[in-house]
Amino acid sequence: MSMNREGRPTHTGTGADINATRAALLPNEPLLFEIGDTHHSGVDLPEVEISSSRLGGFGRKSALDLAGLTEPEAMRHYVRLSRLNHSIDGGFYPLGSCTMKHNPRLNEKMARLPGFADIHPLQPVSTVQGALELMQELSHWLMTLTNTAAVALTPKAGAHGELLGMMAIKAAQEARGEGHRKVVLVPESAHGTNPATAAFLGYTVKAIPAREDGTVDVSAVKDALSPDVAAIMLTNPNTCGLFEPQVKEIAAAVHEAGAYFYCDGANFNAIMGVVRPGDLGIDAMHINLHKTFSTPHGGGGPGAGPVVLSEALAPFAPVPFVRKGEAGLELVEHTEGEALGRISAFHGQMGMYVRALTYMLSHGADGLAQAARDAVLNANYIKARLKGAFSLPFPDYPTMHEVLFDDAFLAGTGVTTLDFAKALIDEGFHPMTMYFPLVVHGAMLIEPTESESKQTLDQFCDVMLDLAEDAKGGNTARFTGAPLKAPRRRLDETRAARQPVLRWERKDPLPQAAE
């Protein structure tokens, strides 16, 4: 590869032109390593002499070969890249099961106050009393909204919360000499994380079939219960968008069999402030602060998954937790009694606690309940507008905050759920969740959230109806090969998996440092 005087490649090696624009405002952006080099830097730092190094011979000898960018170059690279993403702020994002609601910027502003962002998890607790009070206040809100006895704040995501909740259940059973319970019941419609979590802890997973109407049958649960069963992991509202009508009977049956009720709280947005899961008999439930309480999804995390616990499980909460002491608030950092230890370093996702509490204080009890009701209203509105043209696998109940269609309406058209989703991209919408839950064929799970106006919902429904009409009318041009207007056409996922290329590799020798 030829280099210019700064030692930078004159070609990118991919045939891509650095300044190429595919279309107005849609950049084709080379990799950082094709733009930058090892001499450029966007940070001014003094060069220092180290008279006697204390590295003891462990100093670096191997090459780093790390590309750098000056500040304007970095700004342009990341702004251009960002424009290749769909986002909530940019458009409707009805991804079922993910609760893509508006992320208020007040939350971001508060999280960046030096009193929250610039405090260390291990500085003396006397210097972080405000942080501990915030954790207590957040806990109070979560416990009140769920009517539960305790909360463990530390899990870093929903799946991490599931792990903690199931660990607590395991610890509670072992404490009463029932460690032999090795089976966890998981309905077929569950998120993949549920069986994965149970298996992670050494449990055998037993699937509970769904009823024809999309809900879990208490008699199927009763049939599956035995002295070997440790718990049921049930999502409520479930992943078909339905509130489990027999949830209280299921809880009673589970408890009677000496097992616990783990509730997957991924869909809490449908019922926050309207129904308290503690009143339904749950023993543990994680709450995704990044779904229900608007902390940003950030392109895939960081999340936060605090777990509320019933009185039975409260003694098994992990450390750390906050309690009142003589000299103010204390942080209990070491296992006392039956607590199950520590599931992450430090005290959890403080940055997310700040955002979530800011959101809760903004809404208040009344606003949270209204948000849940509007989320349910919006999903039912979409259902009402689309049900004539789309196929509803479970028409018996009103849907909650998300509505599930299957692909029966596409039978014989040659158009698949995937094609349909990709065609939506060309219309400017993020597709719904596809092919989940697994209990219906070609699932399309649509979750509008409360953040969307009637106008947006109408636009979306108009487009959906129009697409359905074209699919049924044999006008498949909108579907074949869609998307056509996105930054990329369909990507070859098989190739990515068969010949994994997981990092950029330098194809030419490292250029010599310019002296």
Partner: protein
């Protein structure tokens, strides 16, 4: 309510389309008595300025690291984050996107993750890296489980220099597992791990710089592990050290786990942070977490997708490598932008600056009567033994406005050998005045 778009008239219109009288009717599946009659017992909605006032009042009751001399480290480090990083990560297209499930409209996030994976692989000296994990501590537990899957052996040995929280997390993940061996704290950098490796050992876990600041010999550990067919997991809690210290991958590490907070991310009282995990190419199918890979689109143009998802829970369910369903996307973005701004030149200079400040700190501490420095080697962090319990001294210095470090007893309780120890870190933000203030304060408190 400022976040809810509907007017009452619009709600009524929508209900008419649905064909019900009230939103309450949509909750008909909720069992009798479970539907609340009114709001729960919490305050009502509040204007933005009042929420802000409440949050500011809470923040004001915390002492920020920037408020005075600050030497607290032990797994989380105060570094300067360029303003560009925080501006960029707050762009809507980064902040309010989700997991790139639809790659055609997520190429920004996907290309960034590909670049991130490359950066992590390069600094650790490994062949491949994943798209990030929750943090370094949970990453360590995941690495231990990965090593078990790879070797089909069970015994895991944790070095006494491993961060005590990381050790505790591994212990919680492997609750009551008889094959987990946790060596006792080694504040002097002493090691006994190599003699403990046997043919049943899946992996040993060694941190460098270790919790007490000592640099550990990765090469010797790798050779000893490999001689018995075991794997070496190297943990790095201060990722800036990799600018100056030899990459674990170049010394034979099989899996490297790091806490990436130091680059691009604020202290945040402990989270969110970003876990880095890198390994050898031959091990990727047992690696947990998301992976981004390069491919082409239907027109043959380069593009990126999440790949090898047959390892993951949404496909494999109870047979997945892990239950992990997310990464730490925005923190990984912050890491990647900061690392791109640094580049090799900046990253190396930043590491040198950290080491220089730590050398100055060590020199000053050794001058204080009653202070004994335990480290012969260090990067930017070190352990001192005092003539009094470390917790008392740290508390006394906090009252003087100096945050002097972490008393080891806070993390390792009930071990008399560590009662008088304090771990201190210096970074590029540590000034000579800070060091002088600490030395003077220590002199007074210990006198």
């Amino acid at each position: 309510m400022r976040y809810l778009p509907h007017s009452e008239a619009e709600r009524a219109e929508m209900l008419a389309v649905i064909g019900v009288d009230s939103i309450g009717a949509l909750f008909s599946a909720v069992p009798d008595g479970a539907l609340l009659k009114g709001p729960v017992d919490l305050p009502s909605h509040s204007p933005e300025f009042l929420v802000e006032a409440r949050m500011r009042a809470l923040a004001a009751r915390n002492r920020a690291a920037g408020d005075g001399p600050f030497f607290v480290g032990a797994g989380a480090y105060r570094h300067h984050v360029p303003a560009t990083v925080d501006h960029l990560i707050q762009r809507s297209e980064w902040l309010t996107a989700y997991t790139p499930y639809q790659p055609e409209i997520s190429q920004g996030t996907l290309q960034m993750l590909f670049e991130f994976q490359t950066q992590v692989a390069k600094i650790t000296g490994m062949e491949v890296a994943n798209a990030s994990l929750y943090d370094g501590s949970t990453g360590t537990a995941e690495a231990v489980l990965m090593a078990r899957r790879l070797t089909r052996r069970n015994k895991i040995i944790l070095s006494g220099g491993l961060h005590p929280h990381y050790r505790d997390v591994v212990k919680a993940y492997l609750k009551d597992d008889p094959d987990l061996v946790c060596l006792s704290a080694s504040p002097e950098g002493q090691g006994d791990i190599l003699d403990r490796i046997d043919e049943a050992t899946a992996a040993i876990v060694v941190q460098t710089p270790d919790f007490y600041g000592h640099l550990r010999n990765v090469k010797t550990a790798a050779d000893a592990a490999h001689a018995k067919g075991a794997l070496l997991i190297v943990v790095v809690t201060e990722v800036v050290s990799l600018g100056l210290i030899e990459a674990p991958g170049a010394l034979g590490a099989d899996i490297v786990v790091a806490e990436g907070q130091s680059i691009g991310n604020a202290l945040n009282f402990g989270g969110p942070y970003v876990g880095l995990m890198a390994t050898k190419k031959e091990f990727i199918r047992q690696m947990p977490g998301r992976l981004c890979g390069e491919t082409v689109d239907a027109k043959g143009e380069r593009g990126f997708v999440l790949t090898l998802s047959t390892r993951e829970q949404h496909i494999r369910r109870e047979k997945a490598t892990s239950n992990i369903c997310t990464n730490s996307g925005l923190c990984a973005l912050a890491f990647s932008i900061h690392m791109a701004l640094l580049g090799e030149a900046g990253f190396t200079r930043l590491a040198r600056l950290n080491h220089a400040r730590a050398c100055a700190l060590a020199d000053a501490l050794e001058e204080v009567p009653g202070v004994e420095l335990l480290n012969k080697t260090f990067f930017n962090e070190m352990t001192i033994r005092l003539t009094r319990p470390g917790a008392e001294v740290v508390e006394a210095l906090a009252r003087k406005g100096i945050l002097a470090g972490v008393p080891v007893s806070r993390l390792v309780p009930d071990d008399p050998a560590v009662t008088n120890l304090v771990v201190l870190a210096a970074t590029e933000l540590t000034t000579h005045d800070d060091i002088a203030a600490l030395a003077a304060g220590l002199k007074e408190v210990l006198a």
